[in-house]
Symmetry: C2
Subunit: 233 residues, 2 copies
């Protein structure tokens, strides 16, 4: 009945490799640095509010996150944060940009198994510079037929990418951990979508689960993807 | 003798639209904010040194520039800069990200004239998010056959882009204001290169002029490009 699936899009952060844990670690350092000025929960809420407010200016990524931490520190202390603390926030941000790339379980063998049978496309948002660094360090780059680093993941993005590198969205499946960025817009574009949840997902990426969508699937980890794909077409 | 030129690559910042002037304006504000702490020349030199040191972490763009201004302010005051000043540097950075796009003279009509006869490719480096914003605001996007926002402009970058979107570097010409990023690596890739100087060019983009290269040309402004191209092939 359904057309054959010929292309698979993969999200990168927290789908192929760890990402959010480095943000959480840094947020912990940020809260410790400002512990004398506000309760940890307040700091977390203020930081998230500043990040949301800045998304239209900064987009996604570590540099924008660092700028938002500094802005929160200035605001929450009403301009009294010592410059030494600002220097430590800057250092924490630079450290994030150097964090080692830790590939998630089953990722490499699954990509290697699928590479002969499907066109594989990496589709990720965030800092171009940082995403290229992580891809190079992961050693996974050669397994992909195309790399798309985009500023926003919406239905138009997926429509364009699956037309350009595959046979259109209806013959493509998107795999990722974010319902908001990976799953819902890929379904909206007319594609299939496989959710692989990650224990840590950024609050801004949360969304209602599209329980009833006929092209929506769910697996626990990347090792279950190959078997699932054979049931789709 | 020479093969026909079929593709033209255009740099964006300070080739299609003003860019460096916004950095210079912001640097002026930065120096004014820290005037009590160091001489303006020292501030400029320290900022440039911090920018160079951070290029490997931040890549190019306004967010990295803002982070480098903050780092310089913390360093040069030995940790005594008031948080209020940090807040003003953050605000100056956000303002840069909203600056209106000012297309340079002769750009639109030249692109419109060339669009029928050549494949036009926008090739720019910097923040993905900010470059997309500027392209959208410029209204020039539809004149290009391809948009390539890259993290670094070297010979390999030009070789790949001119193969993918044109007929290879030997049948392509790169047009831009930076000898270091636009001209030298395009020549190295085996392509043609046309330098259009801009009054303001960032110190990191300076390079020795390749006076003797047979495929190197120079014009004063974009309005002279069409006539020059007709002499190349």
């Amino acid at each position: 009945m359904a057309a054959t699936i010929t292309a698979i899009g993969f999200d990168a952060d927290d789908t192929l490799w760890q990402n959010e844990q480095f943000f959480k670690l840094t947020e912990g350092r940020f809260k410790a640095l400002l512990a004398g000025h506000a309760a940890p929960e307040d700091l977390g809420q203020r930081l998230l509010a500043v990040e949301r407010r800045n998304l239209d200016h900064y987009g996604y990524g570590i540099k924008g996150f660092t700028l938002s931490m500094i802005e929160t520190a200035v605001e929450i202390t009403e301009g009294r944060v010592p410059a030494k603390v600002i220097g430590e926030i800057l250092a924490a941000g630079r450290e994030m940009l150097r964090h080692p790339v830790e590939t998630l379980p089953h990722v490499r063998e699954t990509l290697e198994r699928l590479a002969g049978s499907y066109r594989l496309i990496l589709i990720t948002k965030g800092d171009l510079f940082d995403q290229e660094r992580k891809l190079a360090q992961s050693g996974l780059g050669d397994l992909f037929d195309a790399i798309e680093i985009v500023s926003e993941k919406n239905a138009a993005t997926y429509g364009r990418i699956f037309s350009q590198h595959g046979d259109g969205a209806a013959q493509s499946v998107m795999v990722g951990n974010s319902l908001k960025s990976d799953i819902l817009p890929a379904l909206e574009a007319g594609g299939w979508a496989v959710h692989i949840p990650h224990a840590l997902t950024w609050a801004i990426e949360h969304a209602e689960k599209p329980l009833e969508a006929p092209r929506f699937r769910h697996v626990e980890h990347m090792g279950q993807l190959t078997a699932l794909l054979s049931t789709l077409s």
